[in-house]
Amino acid sequence: MSSRRKILFVTTDQQRYDTLGCNGGQVARTPVVDTLAMKGVRFERAHPQSVVCMPSRSTILTGQHPATHGVWMNGVPLPVGAPSVAEELRRAGYRTALVGKAHFQPYLDPFLRFAENALSGGAPAPTGGAHRGFEHMETAAHGPTGPLHYARWLAAEHPEAVGGYYQVLDSAMQVNAAGGGETGAPQVTVNPIPRDLYHTDWVADRTITWLDSLESDDDWFCWMSFPDPHHPWDPPEDEMRRVDWREVPLPAAYPATRSERERILDNKPRHWGQWYRGDLVSNYEAPATWVPATLTPEQIREVNARNAVECELIDEALGRVLTRIAERGWEDDVDVVFTTDHGDLQGDFGLLFKGPYHVDGLMRLPLVWCPAPKILPTPAVVHRPVGLVDLAPTFCSIAGITPPTWMAGSPLPLDDDDADSRGFERVLTAWDSELFGVSVRVRTITRDSWVCTAYLPGTSHDGTEGELYSLVEDPLQRTNRWDDPALSGVRDDLLVDLWSHQPRVRTPRPQLEAPV
């Protein structure tokens, strides 16, 4: 048996920090991840470097900030030759796989120009031995469409189940605004699909099959990437018995009256309120024809109930994979890292989905690292800020490899003392969108329990706007203190730190090649 540690890297898509029991979540039951957290390290302040999928996933893979790897927004493909932690591990002798959602390249691809889409037409073993360092790739996304292994499998083996899913895009190829369920909430439908055909269980099944193909003494790195709980919210309807949506509490950050919502939003940079009222569509991350001001409390409850059921299904699927790992005799040798790519507003401020809004709903992520039991890890909670940019060097460290210099982050700390000794003081997040004549550019630093966001000049901002929140005094980020004279020193200090720590910028900047 090899003495090296194996790595099960588990991601979900668009999952909030507060959806896990170990983080205080009250709706979804997540005993599997909660147990990992109890035995390992739970991070209280893990942030993404982008709050949308492609840039964030590219950061996870490369260990670089979006400005450096170049994927500045969904629809910008990660260059095929971009560095990859999976390739580093493969070179070191690890067997490597990615099962589930990849999304390093755009999905809307009628010309089939992108390698990850072309992959689904054949065997899951990429030509040339590996793609981005993965010798095995089986892909899935949020439903039964697209050039993905799950979609092809479902259409071929269970065509009767295809039609039950929500249609993610409408006839104009926009993110669909159609409502469903019992409340008419956007991106919701009643999906009669049996649980064992749903993509969550498929990802776990395919992961187990790949693990079963390995020799006992293989070293391996497996990225198991669940597409949920990202919208659409269409889990198997039989599973909805778990949560009565009428009993789901409204988010603490949901202001009860429209006037209160508008007062809070109008205290933030103008694009917040413009989107809320339906006056501005700045990106492709939410239904373009949906107006957030129409969102009802009942719709929030139903969306969050469905989200919770999806989180429970993921937790149980992960449990099945961990059981199989134990059956293979690997239990003491495997590091498990659980996180997501970004969050979801889920009713905060009366909003859903995501966009250029750097607040906890989108930025505060679940992150749990349960090191291999054989190293006798000490359970801990880390309060210092860390980023998804730190994951790639963490995987190198677990594998006993020195992280390459092109990685911007550092191996995750094991506790706060470790974090302090290695300078985990700040985490950066960026947003750049340009869509049909509308541009928004945002830079954020989180440090010393403050979140400070600066807006660069764009079509909605002149470069003077910003946001400043105290995570201690204002944990829901309701009151923007950017223009508070009493805090100008704090703001200016954070801005100096923000601008002095901007990452290296890739030139020329890659172009937007699709909406998503």
């Binding site: 809307l108 010309f111 072309a118 895009l169 104009a172 492709y284 373009a288 049909f436 172009q511 699709a514």
Partner: protein, 134 residues
């Protein structure tokens, strides 16, 4: 404020004489030689059908082939587009090289971006193809 249609432009500077570039991009039967993701095409009169790598056949109508302005225009007539106009201009910049501008106007707006994204990559490939001819 939802965009119904969109107009998206991509361009590339190509270090080859304008006539040489035009001879390739102005020939409707040679599009598959430089547009990545188009695997074949069939031209009959002012009608062209291209086949993508995904196996999708797209019927097109050729609107303009003007060797004096070096302008090529076409329209995708597939039903998933309510409107489309593609315009390729080869502009002489006076130093023996040229600027190729590829404009895409389409409804729905999303597809304008998808086509323009592919066009942008095609222009990069065009540069490689012509450099390879040297």
């Amino acid at each position: 404020m939802t965009p119904i249609r969109a107009s998206v432009r991509r361009q590339a500077r190509i270090d080859r004489p304008p006539k040489e570039v035009w001879d390739l991009v102005g020939d409707p039967a040679r599009v598959h030689e430089w547009f990545s993701g188009i695997v074949s095409c069939n031209v009959e009169g002012d009608r062209r059908v291209i086949t993508t790598a995904a196996g999708i056949e797209m019927p097109e109508k050729i609107l303009t082939v003007d060797p004096l302005q070096r302008r090529f225009q076409y329209r995708i007539t597939a039903p998933f587009l309510k409107e489309h106009l593609g315009t390729i201009d080869v502009l002489d910049v006076g130093d023996g090289s040229c600027l190729v501008v590829y404009g895409t106007d389409a409804e729905p707006a999303t597809l304008a971006l998808v086509i323009a994204g592919a066009a942008g990559a095609a222009l990069e490939h065009l540069n490689e193809v012509l450099e390879g001819d040297r």
